[in-house]
Protein backbone atom coordinates (compact mmCIF):
# COMPACT_ATOMS: atom_id res chain seq x y z
CA UNK A 1 0.00 0.00 0.00
CA UNK A 2 2.82 2.42 0.87
CA UNK A 3 4.48 1.39 -2.39
CA UNK A 4 1.28 2.15 -4.31
CA UNK A 5 1.05 5.61 -2.76
CA UNK A 6 4.73 6.39 -3.36
CA UNK A 7 4.43 5.41 -7.01
CA UNK A 8 1.41 7.66 -7.41
CA UNK A 9 3.23 10.49 -5.68
CA UNK A 10 6.16 10.23 -8.09
CA UNK A 11 3.97 10.32 -11.18
CA UNK A 12 2.16 13.31 -9.69
CA UNK A 13 5.44 15.18 -9.31
CA UNK A 14 6.23 14.60 -12.99
CA UNK A 15 2.75 15.78 -13.98
CA UNK A 16 3.06 18.94 -11.87
CA UNK A 17 6.40 19.74 -13.48
CA UNK A 18 5.03 19.18 -16.98
CA UNK A 19 1.83 21.14 -16.37
CA UNK A 20 3.67 24.21 -15.12
CA UNK A 21 6.24 23.95 -17.92
CA UNK A 22 3.49 23.84 -20.53
CA UNK A 23 1.76 26.77 -18.90
CA UNK A 24 5.03 28.71 -18.85
CA UNK A 25 5.71 27.98 -22.52
CA UNK A 26 2.19 28.92 -23.62
CA UNK A 27 2.22 32.07 -21.51
CA UNK A 28 5.70 33.08 -22.63
CA UNK A 29 4.80 32.71 -26.29
CA UNK A 30 1.35 34.35 -26.25
CA UNK A 31 1.54 37.09 -23.62
CA UNK A 32 3.17 40.35 -24.56
CA UNK A 33 5.15 41.96 -21.71
CA UNK A 34 6.81 44.40 -24.12
CA UNK A 35 3.40 45.77 -25.02
CA UNK A 36 2.67 46.26 -21.33
CA UNK A 37 5.73 48.49 -20.89
CA UNK A 38 5.14 50.34 -24.15
CA UNK A 39 1.64 51.31 -23.01
CA UNK A 40 2.90 52.92 -19.81
CA UNK A 41 2.35 56.62 -19.28
CA UNK A 42 4.75 58.30 -19.78
CA UNK A 43 6.20 55.76 -22.25
CA UNK A 44 9.69 54.64 -21.16
CA UNK A 45 12.57 54.73 -23.62
CA UNK A 46 13.37 51.67 -25.71
CA UNK A 47 16.59 51.03 -23.81
CA UNK A 48 14.76 51.21 -20.50
CA UNK A 49 12.16 48.70 -21.72
CA UNK A 50 14.88 46.41 -23.04
CA UNK A 51 16.76 46.60 -19.73
CA UNK A 52 13.64 45.93 -17.68
CA UNK A 53 12.60 42.98 -19.87
CA UNK A 54 16.04 41.42 -19.65
CA UNK A 55 16.10 41.85 -15.90
CA UNK A 56 12.73 40.10 -15.51
CA UNK A 57 13.56 37.35 -18.05
CA UNK A 58 10.60 38.47 -20.17
CA UNK A 59 12.39 39.68 -23.30
CA UNK A 60 10.68 38.22 -26.36
CA UNK A 61 13.89 38.59 -28.36
CA UNK A 62 15.66 36.10 -26.13
CA UNK A 63 14.96 32.62 -27.58
CA UNK A 64 12.07 30.86 -25.83
CA UNK A 65 14.28 27.90 -24.89
CA UNK A 66 16.73 30.19 -23.15
CA UNK A 67 14.00 31.97 -21.19
CA UNK A 68 12.51 28.61 -20.26
CA UNK A 69 15.90 27.34 -19.09
CA UNK A 70 16.38 30.42 -16.89
CA UNK A 71 12.89 30.01 -15.46
CA UNK A 72 13.29 26.25 -14.87
CA UNK A 73 16.61 26.64 -13.08
CA UNK A 74 14.98 29.26 -10.89
CA UNK A 75 12.05 26.95 -10.10
CA UNK A 76 14.46 24.11 -9.32
CA UNK A 77 15.85 26.28 -6.53
CA UNK A 78 12.32 27.28 -5.46
CA UNK A 79 12.49 30.73 -7.03
CA UNK A 80 9.62 31.62 -9.34
CA UNK A 81 11.21 34.82 -10.62
CA UNK A 82 9.90 38.39 -10.49
CA UNK A 83 6.48 39.74 -11.37
CA UNK A 84 6.15 42.35 -14.06
CA UNK A 85 6.14 45.04 -11.36
CA UNK A 86 9.49 43.65 -10.20
CA UNK A 87 8.21 42.12 -6.98
CA UNK A 88 9.18 38.65 -5.86
CA UNK A 89 6.70 36.03 -7.10
CA UNK A 90 7.54 33.88 -4.08
CA UNK A 91 6.43 36.60 -1.65
CA UNK A 92 3.20 37.05 -3.60
CA UNK A 93 2.54 33.32 -3.45
CA UNK A 94 3.19 33.29 0.27
CA UNK A 95 0.68 36.08 0.77
CA UNK A 96 -2.02 34.84 -1.60
CA UNK A 97 -1.88 31.04 -1.39
CA UNK A 98 -3.30 31.06 2.14
CA UNK A 99 -6.30 33.11 1.05
CA UNK A 100 -7.10 30.68 -1.75
CA UNK A 101 -6.48 27.59 0.35
CA UNK A 102 -8.81 28.85 3.11
CA UNK A 103 -11.57 29.37 0.56
CA UNK A 104 -10.99 26.06 -1.26
CA UNK A 105 -10.68 23.94 1.90
CA UNK A 106 -13.69 25.48 3.62
CA UNK A 107 -15.79 25.34 0.45
CA UNK A 108 -14.85 21.74 -0.31
CA UNK A 109 -15.40 20.52 3.24
CA UNK A 110 -18.78 22.17 3.62
CA UNK A 111 -20.01 21.44 0.10
CA UNK A 112 -18.80 17.84 -0.16
CA UNK A 113 -19.80 16.79 3.35
CA UNK A 114 -23.27 18.31 3.10
CA UNK A 115 -23.69 16.96 -0.42
CA UNK A 116 -22.69 13.42 0.50
CA UNK A 117 -24.77 13.40 3.69
CA UNK A 118 -27.89 14.81 2.06
CA UNK A 119 -27.52 12.69 -1.07
CA UNK A 120 -27.17 9.51 0.96
CA UNK A 121 -30.11 10.42 3.19
CA UNK A 122 -32.25 11.26 0.18
CA UNK A 123 -31.47 7.85 -1.32
CA UNK A 124 -32.49 6.06 1.86
CA UNK A 125 -35.74 8.00 1.85
CA UNK A 126 -36.24 7.68 -1.91
CA UNK A 127 -39.32 9.57 -3.17
CA UNK A 128 -39.84 11.06 0.27
CA UNK A 129 -40.34 14.78 0.72
CA UNK A 130 -36.67 15.35 1.62
CA UNK A 131 -35.58 13.45 -1.48
CA UNK A 132 -37.83 15.48 -3.73
CA UNK A 133 -36.76 18.83 -2.31
CA UNK A 134 -33.02 18.09 -2.50
CA UNK A 135 -33.30 16.59 -5.99
CA UNK A 136 -35.09 19.62 -7.35
CA UNK A 137 -32.71 22.00 -5.55
CA UNK A 138 -29.62 20.16 -6.79
CA UNK A 139 -30.97 19.97 -10.31
CA UNK A 140 -31.69 23.67 -10.35
CA UNK A 141 -28.32 24.60 -8.84
CA UNK A 142 -26.46 22.47 -11.38
CA UNK A 143 -27.94 24.59 -14.15
CA UNK A 144 -26.58 27.85 -12.72
CA UNK A 145 -22.94 28.57 -13.60
CA UNK A 146 -20.73 29.31 -10.58
CA UNK A 147 -20.15 32.84 -11.83
CA UNK A 148 -23.86 33.49 -11.88
CA UNK A 149 -24.31 31.95 -8.41
CA UNK A 150 -21.66 34.32 -7.05
CA UNK A 151 -23.14 37.35 -8.78
CA UNK A 152 -26.68 36.50 -7.63
CA UNK A 153 -25.46 36.06 -4.03
CA UNK A 154 -23.71 39.40 -4.22
CA UNK A 155 -26.75 41.14 -5.66
CA UNK A 156 -29.00 39.66 -3.00
CA UNK A 157 -26.55 40.70 -0.26
CA UNK A 158 -26.67 44.29 -1.48
CA UNK A 159 -30.44 44.10 -1.59
CA UNK A 160 -30.64 42.57 1.90
CA UNK A 161 -28.34 45.21 3.33
CA UNK A 162 -30.43 47.93 1.72
CA UNK A 163 -33.67 46.51 3.02
CA UNK A 164 -32.45 45.91 6.57
CA UNK A 165 -30.51 49.15 6.65
CA UNK A 166 -27.51 47.39 8.21
CA UNK A 167 -24.39 45.70 6.91
CA UNK A 168 -25.57 42.17 7.61
CA UNK A 169 -23.51 40.52 4.89
CA UNK A 170 -20.21 41.63 3.47
CA UNK A 171 -19.66 41.04 -0.21
CA UNK A 172 -16.36 42.68 -1.07
CA UNK A 173 -12.86 41.96 0.16
CA UNK A 174 -11.60 39.52 2.71
CA UNK A 175 -11.69 41.78 5.77
CA UNK A 176 -12.53 45.38 6.62
CA UNK A 177 -9.46 47.58 6.29
CA UNK A 178 -8.26 49.46 9.37
CA UNK A 179 -10.49 47.55 11.73
CA UNK A 180 -9.57 47.93 15.42
CA UNK A 181 -11.70 45.39 17.22
CA UNK A 182 -9.38 43.03 19.03
CA UNK A 183 -9.07 39.32 18.31
CA UNK A 184 -12.74 38.36 18.47
CA UNK A 185 -13.86 41.39 16.53
CA UNK A 186 -11.38 40.66 13.77
CA UNK A 187 -12.42 37.02 13.70
CA UNK A 188 -16.09 37.95 13.49
CA UNK A 189 -15.28 40.41 10.73
CA UNK A 190 -13.44 37.75 8.75
CA UNK A 191 -16.23 35.23 9.17
CA UNK A 192 -18.75 37.84 8.08
CA UNK A 193 -16.71 38.40 4.92
CA UNK A 194 -16.21 34.71 4.32
CA UNK A 195 -19.85 33.61 4.46
CA UNK A 196 -20.88 34.54 0.94
CA UNK A 197 -17.77 33.39 -1.00
CA UNK A 198 -17.73 30.07 0.85
CA UNK A 199 -21.44 29.66 0.22
CA UNK A 200 -20.98 30.46 -3.47
CA UNK A 201 -18.26 27.85 -3.78
CA UNK A 202 -19.95 25.13 -1.77
CA UNK A 203 -23.40 25.49 -3.38
CA UNK A 204 -22.39 24.09 -6.76
CA UNK A 205 -20.24 21.45 -5.11
CA UNK A 206 -23.17 20.49 -2.90
CA UNK A 207 -25.45 20.15 -5.92
CA UNK A 208 -23.07 17.89 -7.85
CA UNK A 209 -22.21 15.70 -4.86
CA UNK A 210 -25.69 15.21 -3.50
CA UNK A 211 -26.92 14.11 -6.91
CA UNK A 212 -24.03 11.79 -7.52
CA UNK A 213 -24.08 10.31 -4.04
CA UNK A 214 -27.82 9.71 -4.25
CA UNK A 215 -27.41 7.70 -7.45
CA UNK A 216 -24.49 5.68 -6.11
CA UNK A 217 -26.34 4.99 -2.87
CA UNK A 218 -29.44 3.82 -4.73
CA UNK A 219 -27.30 1.35 -6.69
CA UNK A 220 -25.92 -0.08 -3.47
CA UNK A 221 -29.07 -0.10 -1.33
CA UNK A 222 -30.62 -3.03 -3.15
CA UNK A 223 -27.53 -5.22 -2.98
CA UNK A 224 -27.35 -8.50 -1.15
CA UNK A 225 -24.66 -7.50 1.30
CA UNK A 226 -26.79 -4.73 2.75
CA UNK A 227 -29.66 -7.15 3.22
CA UNK A 228 -27.31 -9.70 4.77
CA UNK A 229 -25.93 -7.08 7.14
CA UNK A 230 -29.43 -6.33 8.36
CA UNK A 231 -30.37 -10.01 8.45
CA UNK A 232 -27.49 -10.86 10.74
CA UNK A 233 -28.87 -8.37 13.23
CA UNK A 234 -27.27 -5.02 12.49
CA UNK A 235 -29.58 -2.09 13.02
CA UNK A 236 -30.77 -0.44 9.84
CA UNK A 237 -28.76 2.65 10.71
CA UNK A 238 -25.51 0.73 11.19
CA UNK A 239 -26.06 -1.27 8.01
CA UNK A 240 -26.70 1.90 6.06
CA UNK A 241 -23.66 3.77 7.35
CA UNK A 242 -21.10 0.99 7.70
CA UNK A 243 -21.97 -1.10 4.68
CA UNK A 244 -24.02 0.85 2.17
CA UNK A 245 -22.54 4.34 2.55
CA UNK A 246 -18.98 3.05 2.73
CA UNK A 247 -19.34 1.17 -0.54
CA UNK A 248 -21.20 4.00 -2.22
CA UNK A 249 -18.48 6.46 -1.25
CA UNK A 250 -15.85 4.76 -3.42
CA UNK A 251 -17.14 6.01 -6.81
CA UNK A 252 -17.86 9.40 -5.25
CA UNK A 253 -14.18 9.74 -4.39
CA UNK A 254 -13.20 9.10 -8.00
CA UNK A 255 -15.75 11.70 -8.98
CA UNK A 256 -14.21 14.13 -6.49
CA UNK A 257 -10.81 13.76 -8.19
CA UNK A 258 -12.30 14.50 -11.58
CA UNK A 259 -14.25 17.55 -10.46
CA UNK A 260 -11.54 19.15 -8.35
CA UNK A 261 -10.19 21.05 -11.35
CA UNK A 262 -13.61 22.61 -11.87
CA UNK A 263 -13.72 23.48 -8.18
CA UNK A 264 -10.42 25.37 -8.49
CA UNK A 265 -11.73 27.26 -11.50
CA UNK A 266 -14.86 28.11 -9.50
CA UNK A 267 -12.66 29.33 -6.66
CA UNK A 268 -10.98 31.63 -9.16
CA UNK A 269 -14.30 33.14 -10.18
CA UNK A 270 -15.43 33.47 -6.58
CA UNK A 271 -12.23 35.25 -5.54
CA UNK A 272 -12.41 37.64 -8.43
CA UNK A 273 -16.09 38.46 -7.95
CA UNK A 274 -15.87 38.92 -4.18
CA UNK A 275 -12.60 40.84 -4.38
CA UNK A 276 -10.43 38.39 -2.44
CA UNK A 277 -6.76 38.76 -3.26
CA UNK A 278 -6.02 35.09 -3.73
CA UNK A 279 -4.22 33.11 -6.39
CA UNK A 280 -7.24 32.97 -8.70
CA UNK A 281 -7.83 36.70 -8.73
CA UNK A 282 -4.09 37.15 -9.19
CA UNK A 283 -3.98 35.05 -12.34
CA UNK A 284 -6.86 36.94 -13.96
CA UNK A 285 -5.06 40.20 -13.19
CA UNK A 286 -1.67 38.93 -14.34
CA UNK A 287 -3.01 37.83 -17.71
CA UNK A 288 -4.28 41.37 -18.13
CA UNK A 289 -0.83 42.79 -17.22
CA UNK A 290 1.03 40.21 -19.40
CA UNK A 291 2.82 38.80 -16.36
CA UNK A 292 4.32 35.49 -17.55
CA UNK A 293 6.08 34.43 -14.35
CA UNK A 294 3.01 35.00 -12.21
CA UNK A 295 0.81 32.97 -14.58
CA UNK A 296 3.26 30.06 -14.50
CA UNK A 297 3.44 30.22 -10.71
CA UNK A 298 -0.34 30.12 -10.34
CA UNK A 299 -0.55 27.16 -12.72
CA UNK A 300 2.03 25.42 -10.57
CA UNK A 301 -0.06 26.16 -7.47
CA UNK A 302 -3.24 24.87 -9.10
CA UNK A 303 -1.49 21.72 -10.35
CA UNK A 304 -0.21 21.09 -6.83
CA UNK A 305 -3.75 21.53 -5.47
CA UNK A 306 -5.19 19.10 -8.03
CA UNK A 307 -2.47 16.59 -7.29
CA UNK A 308 -2.95 16.99 -3.54
CA UNK A 309 -6.64 16.25 -4.05
CA UNK A 310 -5.80 13.20 -6.18
CA UNK A 311 -3.39 11.97 -3.56
CA UNK A 312 -5.95 12.52 -0.84
CA UNK A 313 -8.48 10.52 -2.80
CA UNK A 314 -5.92 7.75 -3.35
CA UNK A 315 -5.47 7.56 0.43
CA UNK A 316 -9.23 7.62 1.06
CA UNK A 317 -9.69 5.02 -1.62
CA UNK A 318 -7.17 2.70 -0.01
CA UNK A 319 -8.84 3.27 3.35
CA UNK A 320 -12.36 2.53 2.09
CA UNK A 321 -11.66 -0.29 -0.32
CA UNK A 322 -9.76 -3.24 1.16
CA UNK A 323 -9.06 -4.61 -2.33
CA UNK A 324 -6.71 -1.70 -3.03
CA UNK A 325 -4.79 -2.31 0.18
CA UNK A 326 -4.27 -6.01 -0.49
CA UNK A 327 -3.14 -5.87 -4.10
Amino acid sequence: MAKFLIRRLLSYLVLIFLASSIAYLIAASTLDPRGHFEQMQPPPSDQAIEKELNKLNLNDETPLAERYATWATGVATADFGRTIKDQSVNENIARKAGVSLRLIVAGTLIGATLGVAMGAYAAVRQYGRFDRVTTVAAFFLLAVPAVVVAVILQVSAVWLNDVSGMRLLEYGGEYSPNLQAGFWGTLADRVQHAILPTLALSLSLFAAFSRYQRNMMLDVLGSDFVRTAMAKGLTRRAAMIKHALRTALIPTITYFTFTFGILIANATFTEKIFGWHGMGAWVVDSIATQDVNAVAAVTFFMAVCVMAASFLSDVLYAWLDPRVRVS
Binding site: F140, A143, V151, D219, I287, T299
Partner: protein, 300 residues
Amino acid sequence: MSLSVEREATAPEAATPISGRWSSLVKELLATRRVMIGLVIILGLIAMAWIGPLLSPWEFDERDFGAFRSPPSADHWFGTGSTGRDMFHLTMVGLQKSILIGLCAALFTTVIAALVGAFAGYFLGLADRGLMWVTDLFLVLPQFLILAILYPLLRDSGWLVFVVLLACLMWMVTAKMVRGMTISLKEREYVLAARYMGVSHARIILRHILPNMSSLLIVDATINVSSAIILETALSYFGFGIQPPDVTLGSLIAEGARQALAFPWTFWFCTGLLIVLVLAVNLVGDGLRDALDPHSKSRT
Protein backbone atom coordinates in the same frame (compact mmCIF):
# COMPACT_ATOMS: atom_id res chain seq x y z
CA MET B 1 -28.80 -28.91 -33.60
CA SER B 2 -31.39 -27.58 -31.20
CA LEU B 3 -30.23 -24.09 -32.02
CA SER B 4 -31.04 -24.41 -35.68
CA VAL B 5 -34.47 -25.80 -34.86
CA GLU B 6 -35.16 -22.91 -32.62
CA ARG B 7 -34.01 -20.49 -35.24
CA GLU B 8 -36.30 -21.99 -37.81
CA ALA B 9 -39.18 -21.77 -35.43
CA THR B 10 -38.65 -18.11 -34.80
CA ALA B 11 -37.82 -17.23 -38.37
CA PRO B 12 -41.30 -16.12 -39.47
CA GLU B 13 -41.55 -13.72 -36.55
CA ALA B 14 -38.14 -12.30 -37.30
CA ALA B 15 -39.39 -11.44 -40.75
CA THR B 16 -41.42 -8.61 -39.28
CA PRO B 17 -39.18 -5.56 -39.24
CA ILE B 18 -36.96 -5.54 -36.17
CA SER B 19 -36.70 -2.04 -34.87
CA GLY B 20 -33.20 -0.75 -35.44
CA ARG B 21 -31.01 1.10 -33.02
CA TRP B 22 -32.31 4.52 -33.95
CA SER B 23 -36.00 3.78 -34.07
CA SER B 24 -35.91 2.01 -30.72
CA LEU B 25 -33.93 4.91 -29.35
CA VAL B 26 -36.55 7.37 -30.55
CA LYS B 27 -39.31 5.23 -29.08
CA GLU B 28 -37.52 5.09 -25.75
CA LEU B 29 -37.10 8.83 -25.76
CA LEU B 30 -40.68 9.58 -26.58
CA ALA B 31 -41.67 7.50 -23.59
CA THR B 32 -39.45 9.46 -21.18
CA ARG B 33 -41.29 12.52 -20.01
CA ARG B 34 -38.27 14.47 -18.83
CA VAL B 35 -36.56 14.14 -22.20
CA MET B 36 -39.66 15.37 -23.97
CA ILE B 37 -40.07 18.38 -21.68
CA GLY B 38 -36.39 19.23 -22.09
CA LEU B 39 -36.49 18.86 -25.87
CA VAL B 40 -39.60 21.00 -26.19
CA ILE B 41 -37.96 23.75 -24.11
CA ILE B 42 -34.75 23.57 -26.16
CA LEU B 43 -36.66 23.67 -29.46
CA GLY B 44 -38.66 26.59 -28.12
CA LEU B 45 -35.48 28.44 -27.19
CA ILE B 46 -33.94 27.71 -30.59
CA ALA B 47 -37.06 29.00 -32.35
CA MET B 48 -37.07 32.06 -30.10
CA ALA B 49 -33.38 32.75 -30.72
CA TRP B 50 -33.63 32.64 -34.49
CA ILE B 51 -37.14 34.05 -35.03
CA GLY B 52 -37.02 36.62 -32.23
CA PRO B 53 -34.58 39.00 -33.96
CA LEU B 54 -36.83 39.03 -37.06
CA LEU B 55 -39.80 40.15 -35.01
CA SER B 56 -37.90 42.79 -33.11
CA PRO B 57 -38.36 46.28 -34.55
CA TRP B 58 -34.74 47.16 -33.70
CA GLU B 59 -31.53 46.23 -35.47
CA PHE B 60 -28.55 44.53 -33.78
CA ASP B 61 -26.32 47.61 -33.94
CA GLU B 62 -29.06 50.17 -33.73
CA ARG B 63 -29.03 52.56 -30.81
CA ASP B 64 -32.06 54.28 -29.43
CA PHE B 65 -30.71 57.67 -28.45
CA GLY B 66 -34.00 58.52 -26.76
CA ALA B 67 -33.80 55.62 -24.34
CA PHE B 68 -30.63 54.76 -22.48
CA ARG B 69 -31.10 52.10 -19.81
CA SER B 70 -34.86 52.30 -20.10
CA PRO B 71 -36.91 49.55 -18.41
CA PRO B 72 -38.86 47.02 -20.47
CA SER B 73 -41.68 48.63 -22.41
CA ALA B 74 -43.80 47.99 -25.50
CA ASP B 75 -41.03 49.58 -27.53
CA HIS B 76 -38.12 47.66 -26.01
CA TRP B 77 -39.37 44.32 -24.74
CA PHE B 78 -36.35 43.63 -22.54
CA GLY B 79 -35.44 47.29 -22.01
CA THR B 80 -32.27 48.90 -23.31
CA GLY B 81 -28.63 48.73 -22.28
CA SER B 82 -26.26 51.52 -21.33
CA THR B 83 -25.61 52.44 -24.97
CA GLY B 84 -29.28 52.37 -25.89
CA ARG B 85 -29.15 49.04 -27.70
CA ASP B 86 -32.28 46.91 -27.59
CA MET B 87 -31.76 44.20 -24.97
CA PHE B 88 -34.26 41.82 -26.56
CA HIS B 89 -32.40 41.71 -29.84
CA LEU B 90 -29.01 41.42 -28.11
CA THR B 91 -30.21 38.63 -25.84
CA MET B 92 -31.65 36.64 -28.75
CA VAL B 93 -28.39 36.94 -30.72
CA GLY B 94 -26.46 35.96 -27.59
CA LEU B 95 -28.75 32.98 -27.10
CA GLN B 96 -28.05 31.89 -30.71
CA LYS B 97 -24.30 31.98 -30.12
CA SER B 98 -24.53 30.20 -26.77
CA ILE B 99 -26.62 27.39 -28.27
CA LEU B 100 -24.26 27.05 -31.24
CA ILE B 101 -21.18 27.02 -29.02
CA GLY B 102 -22.71 24.44 -26.71
CA LEU B 103 -23.73 22.10 -29.53
CA CYS B 104 -20.50 22.36 -31.54
CA ALA B 105 -18.21 22.08 -28.53
CA ALA B 106 -20.10 19.02 -27.28
CA LEU B 107 -19.87 17.39 -30.70
CA PHE B 108 -16.10 17.97 -30.96
CA THR B 109 -15.56 16.87 -27.36
CA THR B 110 -17.41 13.62 -27.83
CA VAL B 111 -15.61 12.83 -31.07
CA ILE B 112 -12.18 13.42 -29.51
CA ALA B 113 -13.10 11.47 -26.37
CA ALA B 114 -14.53 8.54 -28.31
CA LEU B 115 -11.51 8.25 -30.57
CA VAL B 116 -8.87 8.62 -27.86
CA GLY B 117 -10.69 6.35 -25.40
CA ALA B 118 -11.51 3.64 -27.96
CA PHE B 119 -8.00 3.52 -29.42
CA ALA B 120 -6.40 3.42 -25.98
CA GLY B 121 -8.73 0.71 -24.74
CA TYR B 122 -8.57 -1.35 -27.93
CA PHE B 123 -4.81 -1.47 -28.41
CA LEU B 124 -3.82 -1.26 -24.75
CA GLY B 125 -0.07 -1.58 -24.16
CA LEU B 126 2.11 1.30 -25.23
CA ALA B 127 -0.59 3.24 -27.09
CA ASP B 128 -2.81 3.08 -24.02
CA ARG B 129 -0.05 4.22 -21.68
CA GLY B 130 0.80 7.16 -23.91
CA LEU B 131 -2.79 8.27 -24.48
CA MET B 132 -3.81 7.91 -20.83
CA TRP B 133 -0.76 9.86 -19.80
CA VAL B 134 -1.73 12.71 -22.10
CA THR B 135 -5.25 12.49 -20.67
CA ASP B 136 -3.93 12.78 -17.12
CA LEU B 137 -1.78 15.71 -18.12
CA PHE B 138 -4.79 17.51 -19.59
CA LEU B 139 -6.73 16.79 -16.41
CA VAL B 140 -4.04 18.53 -14.37
CA LEU B 141 -3.86 21.60 -16.58
CA PRO B 142 -6.51 24.03 -15.39
CA GLN B 143 -8.73 24.49 -18.46
CA PHE B 144 -9.93 27.91 -17.51
CA LEU B 145 -6.36 29.11 -17.10
CA ILE B 146 -5.12 27.69 -20.39
CA LEU B 147 -8.01 29.22 -22.32
CA ALA B 148 -7.42 32.52 -20.56
CA ILE B 149 -3.69 32.48 -21.40
CA LEU B 150 -4.40 31.60 -25.02
CA TYR B 151 -6.88 34.45 -25.24
CA PRO B 152 -4.51 36.89 -27.01
CA LEU B 153 -4.20 34.35 -29.83
CA LEU B 154 -7.93 33.75 -29.96
CA ARG B 155 -8.99 37.33 -29.89
CA ASP B 156 -8.90 37.75 -33.65
CA SER B 157 -9.66 34.26 -34.86
CA GLY B 158 -13.42 33.99 -34.45
CA TRP B 159 -15.68 31.79 -32.40
CA LEU B 160 -15.13 28.46 -34.17
CA VAL B 161 -11.48 28.32 -33.09
CA PHE B 162 -12.68 29.10 -29.58
CA VAL B 163 -15.12 26.19 -29.77
CA VAL B 164 -12.40 23.77 -30.91
CA LEU B 165 -10.18 24.87 -28.03
CA LEU B 166 -13.06 24.49 -25.59
CA ALA B 167 -13.46 20.92 -26.85
CA CYS B 168 -9.73 20.23 -26.53
CA LEU B 169 -9.97 20.98 -22.82
CA MET B 170 -13.13 19.01 -22.00
CA TRP B 171 -12.71 15.52 -23.44
CA MET B 172 -10.69 13.81 -20.72
CA VAL B 173 -13.27 12.33 -18.37
CA THR B 174 -15.40 10.92 -21.20
CA ALA B 175 -12.28 9.43 -22.81
CA LYS B 176 -11.52 7.56 -19.60
CA MET B 177 -15.04 6.12 -19.49
CA VAL B 178 -14.91 5.13 -23.16
CA ARG B 179 -11.58 3.39 -22.56
CA GLY B 180 -13.03 1.37 -19.70
CA MET B 181 -16.00 0.27 -21.81
CA THR B 182 -13.81 -0.57 -24.81
CA ILE B 183 -11.65 -2.87 -22.70
CA SER B 184 -14.71 -4.93 -21.83
CA LEU B 185 -16.31 -4.70 -25.29
CA LYS B 186 -13.24 -5.89 -27.18
CA GLU B 187 -13.55 -9.31 -25.60
CA ARG B 188 -17.10 -9.79 -26.91
CA GLU B 189 -17.81 -12.47 -29.49
CA TYR B 190 -18.83 -10.16 -32.29
CA VAL B 191 -15.58 -8.23 -32.01
CA LEU B 192 -13.56 -11.44 -32.00
CA ALA B 193 -15.58 -12.68 -34.98
CA ALA B 194 -14.88 -9.50 -36.90
CA ARG B 195 -11.20 -9.74 -36.08
CA TYR B 196 -10.95 -13.34 -37.27
CA MET B 197 -12.70 -12.39 -40.48
CA GLY B 198 -9.85 -10.01 -41.12
CA VAL B 199 -11.60 -6.68 -40.51
CA SER B 200 -9.03 -3.96 -39.91
CA HIS B 201 -8.55 -2.57 -36.40
CA ALA B 202 -9.69 0.94 -37.27
CA ARG B 203 -12.84 -0.45 -38.87
CA ILE B 204 -13.60 -2.63 -35.86
CA ILE B 205 -13.36 0.38 -33.61
CA LEU B 206 -15.53 2.57 -35.80
CA ARG B 207 -18.12 -0.02 -36.87
CA HIS B 208 -18.36 -2.39 -33.92
CA ILE B 209 -17.06 -0.85 -30.74
CA LEU B 210 -18.13 2.78 -30.85
CA PRO B 211 -21.73 2.12 -32.05
CA ASN B 212 -22.14 -0.30 -29.19
CA MET B 213 -21.53 2.38 -26.65
CA SER B 214 -23.62 4.96 -28.47
CA SER B 215 -25.89 5.37 -25.48
CA LEU B 216 -22.98 6.41 -23.28
CA LEU B 217 -21.74 8.75 -25.98
CA ILE B 218 -25.14 10.34 -26.52
CA VAL B 219 -25.67 10.91 -22.81
CA ASP B 220 -22.21 12.35 -22.46
CA ALA B 221 -22.57 14.61 -25.47
CA THR B 222 -25.71 16.04 -23.89
CA ILE B 223 -23.97 16.70 -20.60
CA ASN B 224 -21.07 18.27 -22.47
CA VAL B 225 -23.47 20.74 -24.10
CA SER B 226 -24.28 22.21 -20.72
CA SER B 227 -20.67 22.10 -19.50
CA ALA B 228 -19.55 23.95 -22.62
CA ILE B 229 -22.21 26.62 -22.16
CA ILE B 230 -21.23 27.03 -18.51
CA LEU B 231 -17.49 27.24 -19.27
CA GLU B 232 -18.13 29.73 -22.03
CA THR B 233 -20.18 31.88 -19.66
CA ALA B 234 -17.35 31.93 -17.13
CA LEU B 235 -14.74 32.82 -19.74
CA SER B 236 -16.87 35.52 -21.29
CA TYR B 237 -17.63 36.92 -17.86
CA PHE B 238 -13.93 37.68 -17.38
CA GLY B 239 -13.55 38.90 -20.94
CA PHE B 240 -11.53 35.90 -22.12
CA GLY B 241 -14.27 34.44 -24.29
CA ILE B 242 -16.15 35.64 -27.31
CA GLN B 243 -15.12 39.14 -28.35
CA PRO B 244 -17.31 42.03 -29.50
CA PRO B 245 -19.05 42.55 -31.88
CA ASP B 246 -20.12 38.94 -31.16
CA VAL B 247 -22.25 38.59 -28.05
CA THR B 248 -23.14 35.51 -26.02
CA LEU B 249 -25.27 35.11 -22.93
CA GLY B 250 -22.03 35.08 -20.94
CA SER B 251 -20.84 38.46 -22.15
CA LEU B 252 -24.31 39.92 -21.64
CA ILE B 253 -24.40 38.60 -18.07
CA ALA B 254 -20.97 40.13 -17.46
CA GLU B 255 -22.25 43.51 -18.56
CA GLY B 256 -25.54 43.19 -16.73
CA ALA B 257 -23.98 42.02 -13.46
CA ARG B 258 -22.31 45.41 -12.95
CA GLN B 259 -25.67 47.15 -12.89
CA ALA B 260 -27.90 44.33 -11.69
CA LEU B 261 -29.46 46.34 -8.89
CA ALA B 262 -29.97 49.67 -10.60
CA PHE B 263 -31.08 48.24 -13.94
CA PRO B 264 -32.22 44.69 -13.21
CA TRP B 265 -33.52 44.02 -16.73
CA THR B 266 -29.99 44.07 -18.16
CA PHE B 267 -29.09 41.16 -15.88
CA TRP B 268 -32.10 38.99 -15.17
CA PHE B 269 -33.39 38.33 -18.70
CA CYS B 270 -30.13 36.88 -20.04
CA THR B 271 -29.39 35.08 -16.77
CA GLY B 272 -32.86 33.57 -16.72
CA LEU B 273 -32.60 32.38 -20.32
CA LEU B 274 -29.18 30.86 -19.63
CA ILE B 275 -30.49 28.96 -16.61
CA VAL B 276 -33.53 27.72 -18.54
CA LEU B 277 -31.29 26.59 -21.41
CA VAL B 278 -28.86 24.66 -19.20
CA LEU B 279 -31.73 23.25 -17.14
CA ALA B 280 -33.44 21.94 -20.29
CA VAL B 281 -30.22 20.39 -21.60
CA ASN B 282 -29.58 18.73 -18.23
CA LEU B 283 -33.15 17.46 -18.18
CA VAL B 284 -32.62 15.79 -21.54
CA GLY B 285 -29.27 14.35 -20.48
CA ASP B 286 -30.64 13.02 -17.22
CA GLY B 287 -33.68 11.47 -18.85
CA LEU B 288 -31.53 9.97 -21.61
CA ARG B 289 -29.25 8.33 -19.09
CA ASP B 290 -32.19 6.70 -17.38
CA ALA B 291 -33.73 5.64 -20.68
CA LEU B 292 -30.58 4.28 -22.28
CA ASP B 293 -28.59 2.88 -19.39
CA PRO B 294 -30.15 -0.37 -18.18
CA HIS B 295 -28.25 -0.17 -14.90
CA SER B 296 -29.83 3.05 -13.83
CA LYS B 297 -33.51 2.15 -14.16
CA SER B 298 -33.83 2.39 -10.41
CA ARG B 299 -32.67 5.95 -10.30
CA THR B 300 -35.66 7.72 -11.82
